[in-house]
Symmetry: C2
Subunit: 82 residues, 2 copies
């Protein structure tokens, strides 16, 4: 397992309810791909959302997000954290 930070752009004006709904959609299917979404943060002004996950691969993160209806624009492996 590795840690990933994925980034969604174009989410201008996202609301707390929309972020929660998107997160719940991920949580509902993440187990089938071996992914654990840990936290997400949103900046409605710039339309950016960051999701932190533990997953077997970037492809697994991509598949969960795609199946949940919100394909990410970037997926980064983040082997370092403090």
């Amino acid at each position: 397992m590795a840690t990933f930070m994925d980034v969604h752009h174009g989410m201008d004006g996202i609301t707390a309810e929309e972020l929660e709904a998107a997160h719940q959609a991920d949580l509902a299917i993440e187990r089938s791909e071996g992914v654990t979404f840990k936290q997400a943060w949103a900046d409605p002004a710039s339309g950016t959302v960051w999701c932190l996950s533990e997953a077997p691969s970037a492809d697994a993160v991509q598949r969960v997000h795609e199946r949940a209806g919100h394909k990410p624009d970037e997926i980064h492996s983040v082997p370092l954290s403090v």
Copy 2:
């Protein structure tokens, strides 16, 4: 206080030691600006670092990072999280 996600680009090849040193440099001075850096993640392959903080303003985050020698490329207010 608000939550901020700042982003540093161009950090290609950053090592665990370099990330730790940068974080410690922030922690050493953050109190003078009322900032609390909570966590940071790095992707050495794309050269991206994300820092999560609690701060009175984006300017305060900027000042800490500048004084510590690593000006961020983006600072986002992240009022939403799950």
